[in-house]
């Protein structure tokens, strides 16, 4: 499969989105924000260190700043906008609100993506496991304590609803 970097289509949150006039090498982060108007995904370090641009690409959690957008053709992309409709937050989003895991909010979209991914793979994570799995998402406000609380709240609630 070969396509032109100037014009291609991405599958974002279940919709086909045309990308035009993109430059070769432009990151998925920049295409999402600047060309498709999806501002939920944040950009800060542009080198995969901060995790604020985390998205799911083909079901896998990655830093969208390190994905060449033109290489994502044919692979579904899920951003924070695709996690839950506006006004009805996901259980993870609700838990972040209730636990006070949000202060300035800049890291929150990336963390929500990472926590959803973590809880899909591990229903009852230990604190060490949560810390290790969220090591790629930097938060400069909270000190992480309430973020850890929020993850545990969701894990407990989901296990309760299963049994």
């Amino acid at each position: 499969m070969t396509h032109d970097s100037d014009h291609y289509a991405l599958d974002v949150n279940g919709e086909r989105r045309e990308v035009t006039d993109s430059w070769l090498g432009e990151s998925l982060l920049d295409v999402l924000r600047d060309r498709l108007g999806l501002m939920g995904t944040k950009g800060a370090c542009e080198q995969g260190e901060c995790g604020s641009c985390s998205v799911l690409l083909d079901g896998v959690l990655v830093c969208s700043c390190l994905v060449m957008a033109a290489s994502a053709v044919g692979q579904p992309v899920v951003t924070i906008e695709g996690v839950a409709p506006v006004g009805s937050p996901s259980d993870v989003q609700q838990a972040f609100v209730e636990a006070g895991a949000v202060q300035c909010g800049f890291c929150t979209p990336g963390l929500i993506m990472a926590v959803h991914d973590l809880l899909e793979r591990s229903a009852a994570p230990t604190e060490t496991e949560i810390r290790e799995e969220l090591a790629g998402n930097v938060c400069r406000c909270t000190g992480y304590g309430r973020i850890l609380d929020a993850v545990q709240q969701v894990a407990v609630a989901r296990r309760g609803s299963v049994s």
Binding site: D4, M68, D117
Partner: protein, 287 residues
Amino acid sequence: MPVHLPDTVDAAVAALAADSAAVVLAGGTDLMVEINEGHRRPDATVVVVNRIPELRSWRRDPAAATVTIGAAVSYRELETGPLAQLLPALAEAARTVGSPQIRNAGTLGGNLGTCSPAGDGLPVLAALDATVELASATRRRTVPVGEFMRGVKRTALEPGEMIVSITVPLVDGWQGYAKVGVRNAMVIAVASACVVLDRRRRHAAIALGSVGPTILRCPRAEQHLAATIDWSNFHVESDDLVTVGELVSGESQPISDHRSTAEYRRHAVGVLARRLVRRASSTELAA
């Protein structure tokens, strides 16, 4: 500009042959940082290799006692599951790379292609005497990993060539990887070491990262270790272990830079090597 998403090695090398300025993209964790920072701007063909099934898979060859890992296998896949049991040192190294997001994207072939002295997978490949399979439009060839890695970000890759796979011998014995950084997560190695104890061949291998222009082996320390270790339980008398550490430090070629000093790195690789050998004997005792 054309972006190729080939599903075979043949199609990928044909695209590379058609444009001498073509750029190979695997996980993107190195290349995209260079592009984002403006150090590099692709203005020609990009060949995306991480959807090629041959590069995304691995296989075990029981007769040859080897594992062949496709170049686009991610650190995440090396870190867990059957590959981690077959190659525990590579799994340990993979677990220390970046964050989950980076390990999901970054690949073993990309680690080799970038060929940073701090590449976490590389001391393991060097200590295990891995071989690298390369392909171009005209031929495939195999080179020992020690010859593939030429220097700081310099490899034996020729124009039009790409990395297809890495073949790693399975060793009966013990293997481990350890690294020093400024913290536990998201850190580039200030110094790293891999120790492999091959019980059947009675051969010890020690490879070092971040203490030379590329990965270094330590032939003198390896010889002393192989001669003094008790091959039944990997015990080494403390005097001999001190000597191994001193030889390792002596065989390192570190520099001082923004991450650390030459003195610290020289000391650290000696400590890491001793620690790994002690870990081998304590693992053996516990078993």
